[in-house]
Amino acid sequence: MSVASDTQPAPRGRRARSLVKSLLSFLVVVVVTYLGLLAVTFFIGRVIPVDPVLAIVGDRAPANVVERTREELGFNEPLTTQFVIYVQKALSGDFGRSVLTTNPVMTDIKRVFPATIELATLGTILGAVLGIPLGVLAAVRRGGWLDQIVRIIGLVGYSVPIFWLGLLALLVFYARLQWVGGPGRIDVVYEYTFTPITGFYLLDAIIQRDWSAFNNILSHLALPSLLLGYFSLAYISRMTRSFMLNELSQEYIVAARAKGLSERRIVWRHALRNAAVPLVTVIALSYAGLLEGSVLTETVFAWPGLGLYITNSLQNADMNAVLGGTIVIGSVFIAINLLSDLLYRLLDPRTRAR
C-alpha cells in the first residue's frame, strides 16, 4: 500500500485524510499513555500501601484526623470513582500537599524543576556538541584510534555508576584541586545578593549583569553538567557512529564519490544530513534520560532540583511529593518520547507515505 503511494502521488483529499487520521491516532496514543502513567502512580499510591491515608498523614495522627482525611480524599468511594477523581486532580496539577514542606506539591515542583532543567539541558548540549563530531569521525575512520576511543567512552559510560563517578569527581576537582565550586547551585555568600527570577540561575545572572555570581554559578554547574554530558556523549557518539556507518554504506555515497565530491562534503553534508533524522530522536531520548538520571546526580551534588526533592521526600515517607514528582518527570519523559517520534515522522519523508 505504501508502494503505491510512493510511485504515484495520492489525490489531495486522501492525503489530507491520512494526515488527520495519523494525527488522531497520535492523540489517542498520547491520551492512553498519560492515562497509563496516572494508572500506575494511582496503583502505587493507593492500592499497594495497606492504608494510603496513614501513608499521607503519618501513623501518629489522631483517629479523627485520619477519618477526616479519608473522607476529604474520597477514600471511602469505590476505587474506580477514586481513580476518576485522581485523574481530574492530576490534570489540574493538584497532587496534594507535601508533608515535609507543607506546601502544595505542585508549588514545590515549580520551585525546584528549573534547577533540573538547567542541568539536563547543559548536559545534553555538551553531549551533542562533542558526541556528534566524535561519532562521525569514528565512523569515517572505522577501526582507527579515534574509533577505539569512542568505543571505550561508550563502554565506560554504559558501565560506570553515575553517583560514584560524581563522588570521585567532587573529591578530586573540588576538595583536592579546588578547581570548581562544590555541592549546591551557588555559594552561600551570594544567597542574599542574588535574586532568582526565572529559576534558571545562569539566565538570571545574565539578566541582572551580575558577573561574579555568573562565574560562581558556572563553577558550581561545571562538574554535574560535565558528568551528565559525559553520559550523554557516550550514548550520542555511539549512536552517531552506527547511523553514519549505515549511511556511508549506501549507494548515494558511491554516486557522490563518482561525481567527484570532496570526501569532507560527502561526510558532513550528505551522510550526516541523512543520519540527522534518527539523531534527533537519540538526542531527545538522551535528554529524557538525563532528566531521569538527575535523581542520582542531584543527590550526590546536593543540587536542589526535582531529583533531590523526590529522594528527600522518599526518605521522609512523603508519598504525595514522591508521586507528584514521578508524574511530572514521567509526563516530561513521555512528552519528549512522543514529540521525538512525531518529529521523526515529520522530518523523514520516507515515513510520511505510510
Partner: protein
C-alpha cells in the same frame, strides 16, 4: 541461521573426519551434530573477539567468587573490629582497607557479589519470561490482542525506569526483594518488543503452517515452535541489559532503598563511604570499581554474544 554454509571449509581429506570437520560438516547426519556444529561456529566467532572473552572471564569470576565467598573472604562481611580496625587504609592485613564499622572492605565486596548476582538473575528470571510471553502471544495472535498488548508495552516503555522503580520501592518499602520487583516490572517491555518482532518474522513461514496442519494447538505452536526461536536475540538483549540492571540496583542501594544494612550491597557501601570521602576515599571507591568491572563484563559479553549470534547487526 544459515551461517553454516558460508564458513564450512571444503572437505580436505576423504575418509575419517577430524572432530572439527565433523562439527563443521554441512550435511549433519543427526540433529545433535547440527546443534553442536552451530554452537561450535558461534563459539568460534565469539572467541575471535578478545574483548568478549574478557567479559566472559569477568562474569565467570563473579560467579566463582559468589559461590566460594565463604572460602575467599578473609574476614566476616558483617562483624567488624570496632576497637582496632576503623577506617584503616589499604594495607597487607586489609587489602582494600576497612570501613567505619571496622569491617574488611574486600570481604564485603566478595560477599556483595552474591547480592549482585542474586538481583541480576532474579530480574532476568522474572522480566524475560514476561516479555517473551507478551511478545510471542501478541505477535502470533495479531489483531486486537496484539494492539492491546503492544499499547501496554509502549506505555511501560515510555516510563522513566529509575523514577518508577523509586516510586514502587517507596510504596513497597525498602529491601532487596522489592528492588528486584521494581526493576523487573520496569524492564520487561523491550523483551516483549523483540519477541514480537521475531514472532512476526516466523509466524507465516512454511514450517509453522506445517505444524498447524498437523493439528498443533496455538499454545503448543507458541511454546514449542516460536519461543525457542526468540531465545537467542532475547539472551543477547538480557545480557546487554544486565549492566543497566546492576546500575539501577546499585542506585537504589545508594539511595538507601535497596538492600538494607548490614548487607554488603555495593551501592549501599558507596553511600556509607560517602561520609568519609574526603579523608578515607577508598571506602567509597572500592565498591564503585567492583560495580564498574561487573557492568563492563556484562557489556563486553553482551556485545560479543550479539556479534556471534546475530551477524546482521555485527560491527554496529
Amino acid at each position: 541461521m544459515s551461517v553454516m554454509g558460508n564458513t564450512t571449509p571444503p572437505p580436505m581429506a576423504e575418509g575419517k573426519l577430524s572432530r572439527r570437520e565433523w562439527l563443521l560438516s554441512d550435511r549433519p547426519a543427526s540433529r545433535t551434530q547440527a546443534k553442536l556444529g552451530r554452537a561450535y561456529v558461534s563459539w568460534r566467532r565469539f572467541a575471535e573477539n578478545r574483548l568478549a572473552l574478557i567479559g566472559l572471564i569477568i562474569i565467570l569470576a563473579l560467579v566463582l567468587v559468589a559461590i566460594f565467598a565463604d572460602l575467599l573472604a578473609p574476614y566476616s562481611p558483617t562483624i567488624g573490629d570496632l576497637a582496632n580496625a576503623r577506617l584503616l587504609a589499604p594495607a597487607w592485613d586489609h587489602w582494600l582497607g576497612t570501613d567505619d564499622q571496622g569491617r574488611d572492605i574486600l570481604s564485603r565486596l566478595i560477599y556483595g557479589s552474591r547480592l549482585t548476582l542474586y538481583v541480576v538473575v532474579l530480574v532476568a528470571v522474572i522480566a524475560a519470561p514476561i516479555g517473551l510471553l507478551v511478545g510471542t502471544v501478541s505477535g502470533y495472535a495479531g489483531g486486537w490482542v496484539d494492539a492491546v498488548l503492544m499499547r501496554i508495552t509502549d506505555i511501560f516503555l515510555a516510563f522513566p525506569k529509575l523514577v518508577l522503580a523509586l516510586a514502587l520501592v517507596a510504596a513497597l518499602g525498602p529491601g532487596i526483594e522489592n528492588a528486584v520487583i521494581a526493576i523487573a516490572i520496569t524492564s520487561w517491555p523491550p523483551y516483549a518488543r523483540i519477541a514480537r518482532a521475531e514472532t512476526m518474522q516466523v509466524r507465516n513461514s512454511d514450517y509453522i503452517s506445517a505444524v498447524r496442519l498437523m493439528g498443533a494447538s496455538p499454545i503448543r505452536i507458541v511454546l514449542r515452535h516460536i519461543m525457542p526461536l526468540c531465545m537467542s536475540s532475547l539472551i543477547v538483549r538480557v545480557t546487554l541489559d544486565m549492566a543497566g540492571i546492576i546500575l539501577t540496583a546499585a542506585g537504589l542501594g545508594f539511595l538507601g532503598l535497596g538492600a538494607q544494612p548490614p548487607l554488603p550491597e555495593w551501592g549501599a557501601m558507596i553511600a556509607s563511604g560517602r561520609r568519609f570521602i574526603l579523608d578515607q576515599w577508598w571506602v567509597a571507591a572500592a565498591p564503585g570499581v567492583a560495580i564498574l568491572l561487573v557492568s563492563l563484563g556484562f557489556n563486553l559479553l553482551g556485545d560479543g554474544l550479539r556479534d556471534a549470534l546475530d551477524p546482521r547487526s555485527a560491527g554496529q
